[in-house]
């Protein structure tokens, strides 16, 4: 990979290049998404489906009714929180796959408090969420400190914790926390005061299960963005991720920065669990999170771990998920194609050499075509002259 030296001192010129670079990055991202959609299109075509009808449902469906919008926002809330939860450790260059365990720990903590602890109205919402954040943070601390203090592989540690916590959760929902006397496997419902207010109540339009959690998610994203860009801790996390040797040389306690990144990420994943319990289901359900935890990683990746962009990516990704369901109802194309599209996006995003390859090819072609273009433009001016003459 060759980097171009920026030595000119012309600030205006630099700003122009930077703007151009941003445009290139943005169009790369859009191109990635477009490429994935094209692949999905081709797959449908190859399997004898009607891709145009399918994409119409996929891309316009979620906005057609207000309750569908609600479904989208509700899903986006959980997904974005999960994306944020891995984006923070990723900033410290820690591959934490532990969002699943942190989410379930958070859900358990939130539910336990919200079901069994009588609390006054406002505290009834806040205390379970705080408990969830704490439980998630604790679940992040374990692999975080194993990595920071001992150098234990964080991927294996988080995967093992996931396996353990998912099973313990399953046991608790099927056993001690199962609603007595109910034939269905789930917990008792939470106390009404603990529920996150549905947006329907506020806006008077049926918004499904979308709730205040959506706004809390937006606040969390802004808070994390401030944390990363505007606090010394965020600075330490960034430098640790960028070059741990430099961070250490500069006097930063690298293990502590790594631990904090895990703890903060864990707390946010815990909040995602609280959102599912207090906002969406109102109780513990088996397999609460589905495959959301891993999809959070995709969202973070797509957003290059920038908290504000994670929101955009989360909204986009959930939109595809919501659209996929509608597409399945209205056409004979399965919602799974959306997962395929998402997978293609991940693979294209992670292929880091690909943009460089394309850029180099583009640069070469540009060098080639600029010759041609100057040639053709001459001709064109010539032709227009001719036309003018003819006129």
């Amino acid at each position: 990979m060759t980097t171009t030296l920026i030595e000119s001192e012309d600030r205006r010129e630099y700003k122009a290049t930077r703007r151009r670079g941003l445009v290139v990055d943005l169009s790369m991202t859009l191109a990635t998404i477009l490429a994935a959609l094209v692949i999905g299109f081709l797959v449908m075509l190859a399997t004898g489906k009607d891709p145009i009808a399918a994409y119409e449902a996929l891309l316009t469906g979620p906005l057609e009714r207000s309750f569908r919008v609600g479904r989208w926002l509700e899903d986006a809330t959980t997904l974005t929180l999960l994306g944020l939860s891995v984006a923070i450790p990723f900033r410290a260059r820690q591959i934490s796959l532990g969002a699943e365990s942190q989410l379930y720990a958070g859900a358990l903590a939130a539910a336990t408090v919200a079901i069994f602890l009588p609390l006054p109205p406002v505290a009834a919402v806040i205390v379970p969420m705080a408990a969830a954040a704490a439980a998630g943070a604790g679940m992040g601390f374990v692999p975080g400190s194993m990595k920071a203090r001992l150098g234990a592989n964080e991927i294996v540690a988080t995967l093992m914790l996931n396996a353990i916590v998912v099973r313990v959760y399953d046991y608790l929902v099927n056993g001690p926390l199962k609603e007595p006397g109910s034939s269905a496997v789930h917990s008792e419902p939470i106390q009404p005061d603990s529920a996150l207010t549905p947006l329907t109540e506020w806006l008077g339009i049926p918004f499904g299960r979308a709730n205040v959690g959506f706004l809390l998610m937006l606040l969390t994203a802004v808070a994390l963005w401030l944390l990363i860009t505007r606090t010394p801790l965020g600075y330490r996390i960034r430098m640790t991720g960028s070059n741990p040797h430099f961070a250490e040389y500069g006097g930063i306690r690298v293990p502590r920065a790594i631990e904090w990144s895990f703890v903060i990420g864990g707390a946010v994943a815990g909040l995602a669990g609280a959102h599912l319990v207090q906002g969406v289901y109102g109780r513990l359900e088996p397999g609460l999170a589905g495959s959301l935890a891993f999809e959070g990683i995709v969202v973070a990746l797509l957003a290059r771990n920038n908290p504000l962009v994670v929101v955009v990516a989360g909204l986009f990704y959930s939109y595809l998920r919501a659209g996929g369901d509608i597409m399945e109802q209205q056409t004979d194309v399965g919602t799974e194609i959306v997962v395929v599209i998402q997978a293609v996006i991940v693979l294209l995003v992670t292929a880091q050499a690909l943009p460089d390859l394309l850029k180099r090819r583009l640069a070469r072609r540009q060098a080639g075509t600029s010759h041609k273009r100057s040639g053709t433009s001459d001709k064109r001016t010539g032709a227009s002259h001719g036309k003018a003459d003819a006129r």
């Binding site: 030296l5 920026i6 001192e9 012309d10 700003k15 930077r18 606090t231 600075y235 006097g251």
Partner: protein, 556 residues
């Protein structure tokens, strides 16, 4: 293997070979080398003179930008080590290329294993290794794991590797750097035996004594070019040193005599031990406020370890380090920085900068959590930016904007970022390690001026460099490190020559302990009171240094 050799031609030759790297550095310029078969040829030069690059070209690890390479008397194009190996070239790298968990025998046969139809015959590998070792007189234990054997045995395994591939040319890149004297003896005996059997040996080194002992001829490189080739018998260490050192471009720095004001850095009995890296043995020295103390020495003699201990990146094994009134030996990096230690690291790409982060962020790593940059736990971007703009202005960093990532800067500009950060902290003690490595002349001059300015403002500066010219131009006093020990101390650098100091670096000369510790308080055995300034014995230069009595010093 061993494709057709022309017996009449040279074993290895280069014709006007030039290597320019992608970043514009020209490491080798128009070198014409001619090594006949059956000769031991030493290639010597200072660090960065291009020896290693030249050898990489001969082994196919790098491809020449222009010029022609001959092996076995015929022009060749080496696409990689595999084609070099096929032509009968073997190389023993400075950082050995062995698989740690494999046995010696396994490493020797790796790539050309005995055995039929894809199977591996372990016993044959052991036998082949033992036989080769016997023939070449290189003692190894074929069944020992490489990670568990001594460095010397690892190196012998590397040579056996080349022999197993029937190498006819053997390149040894600084082979003795890691060996004990006895191991070096044995290695030389083996190399001579190989030469007598027809092997051509290219021996890279900057230890002139060894070069004189082992080689038939010596080729001297300087700044990427071949200065000359001489018959070893006609040389002395001094004559070789004269060919090696010196830079055509002289950078005279005008500086007033140092105005010393009390001891800032006080190091006593500093020792450090580690299985990897150079151990340090009982270092005693002071650096006063307002002086630049140079540390000379061939690279790898403990400079890195010393600098990193003083900066807090490594913990000393024994001894005390005081910076001002603070005992820093037990502190972490942040503690060192609080005590007023600034450090320009020797490899800015490794730990001196976060390349993908902005210049502004790189300039605040040691002060990001304090006013004016941070208040009440909030980092203020405007303040960080203003801070960066000021330093960009003050240190003439060529960039359009503080938000430019450091990766986009040239070597000299990048180093200015590092120096700007360390100097703007107003350090009491500045450790400057290889400050001008890989920077252009303009930036070099700038660094020199800044170091002198820092000194004049009262900082104690410890200047570590592989560049003797630079050390002599800047140092008020000079220390010489060899094998992790202080072997030379010059309290007055006027009149000192590179050759004179070179003799200490090479271990030809050394000062007595009494001279080295003269004037230091609290050293083992002596109990002086005053600082080193003016009270220590003066060394008047190389002529004096060369004579036996210069080491005589009388502790007060």
């Amino acid at each position: 293997m061993n494709e057709s050799w022309d017996p009449a031609g040279p074993a290895v030759a280069t014709r006007a070979v030039t290597k320019t790297y992608a970043n514009g550095v020209r490491a080798v310029r128009g070198v014409d080398l001619d090594v006949p078969a059956g000769e031991i040829r030493a290639v010597v030069g200072e660090n960065g003179a291009g020896k290693s690059t030249l050898m990489k070209l001969c082994y196919g690890l790098e491809q020449p930008t222009s010029g022609e390479l001959l092996i076995g008397g015929r022009p060749r194009v080496l696409r990689g080590p595999a084609s070099a190996i096929a032509l009968g070239v073997g190389m023993v790298h400075q950082n050995l290329m062995l698989v740690p968990s494999f046995t010696v025998a396994q490493n020797v046969v790796l790539g050309v294993e005995p055995g039929r139809r894809g199977r591996l015959d372990g016993r044959a590998a052991v036998e082949a290794t033992a036989r080769l070792a016997e023939e070449a007189g290189l003692a190894v234990d074929p069944l020992a794991r490489v990670e568990e054997v001594s460095v010397g045995m690892r190196q012998r395994a590397e040579i056996l590797k080349a022999l197993h591939r029937r190498a006819r040319v053997l390149i040894l890149d600084e082979p003795t750097a890691v060996l004990t004297p006895q191991e070096t003896e044995d290695l030389f005996a083996a190399v001579r035996r190989l030469r007598d059997g027809g092997m051509t040996v290219l021996f890279i080194s900057h230890k002139l004594r060894e070069v004189r002992e082992i080689s038939d001829k010596v080729s001297v490189m300087r700044a990427g070019a071949l200065v000359g080739t001489v018959t070893t018998a006609d040389t002395t260490e001094r004559s070789l040193a004269a060919m090696m050192v010196g830079r055509e471009m002289s950078l005279d720095v005008t500086r007033a005599p140092a105005r010393r004001a009390g001891t800032t850095l006080r190091v006593r009995g500093l020792a450090y031990a580690a299985p990897t890296g150079q151990p340090l043995h009982g270092l005693d020295f002071d650096v006063a406020a307002g002086e630049i103390v140079g540390v000379a020495g061939i690279e790898g003699n403990g400079q890195t370890e010393l600098a990193e201990i003083l900066a807090g990146l490594r913990r000393p094994g024994a001894g005390t380090v005081r910076v001002g009134d603070t005992d820093t030996a037990g502190l972490d990096v942040a503690g060192h920085r609080r005590a007023g230690v600034g450090y320009v690291p020797e490899d800015r790409l490794h730990d001196g900068a976060a390349l993908d982060e902005s210049i502004a962020d790189n300039l605040v790593v040691d002060r990001h959590d304090r006013p004016p940059l941070a208040r009440r736990g909030i980092l203020r971007p405007a303040a960080v930016r203003a801070h960066a703009e000021r330093l960009i202005e003050d240190y003439a960093i060529r960039t359009p904007d503080p938000s430019v990532p450091v990766r986009a800067l040239s070597g000299g500009n990048m180093q200015k970022v590092v120096v700007a950060r360390e100097l703007s902290a107003g350090p009491r003690l500045l450790i400057a390690s290889q400050v001008t490595r890989g920077v252009d002349i303009g930036a070099m001059r700038f660094m020199y001026e800044r170091l002198v300015a820092a000194r004049d403002e009262g900082a104690a500066v410890l200047l570590i460099s592989a560049d003797l010219t630079e050390l002599l131009a800047l140092s008020d006093r000079l220390l010489v490190l060899k094998d992790g020990r202080l072997v030379g101390r010059f309290d007055d650098t006027t009149g000192l020559t590179e050759k004179g100091v070179g003799l200490y670096m090479l271990g030809v000369e050394h000062h007595e302990r009494a001279h080295l510790t003269a004037g230091l308080d609290d050293t083992a055995g002596s109990d002086g009171t005053a600082g080193p300034d003016n009270t220590g014995p003066r060394d008047t230069g190389p002529r004096d240094a060369g004579s036996g009595d210069s080491g005589k010093a009388t502790p007060e």
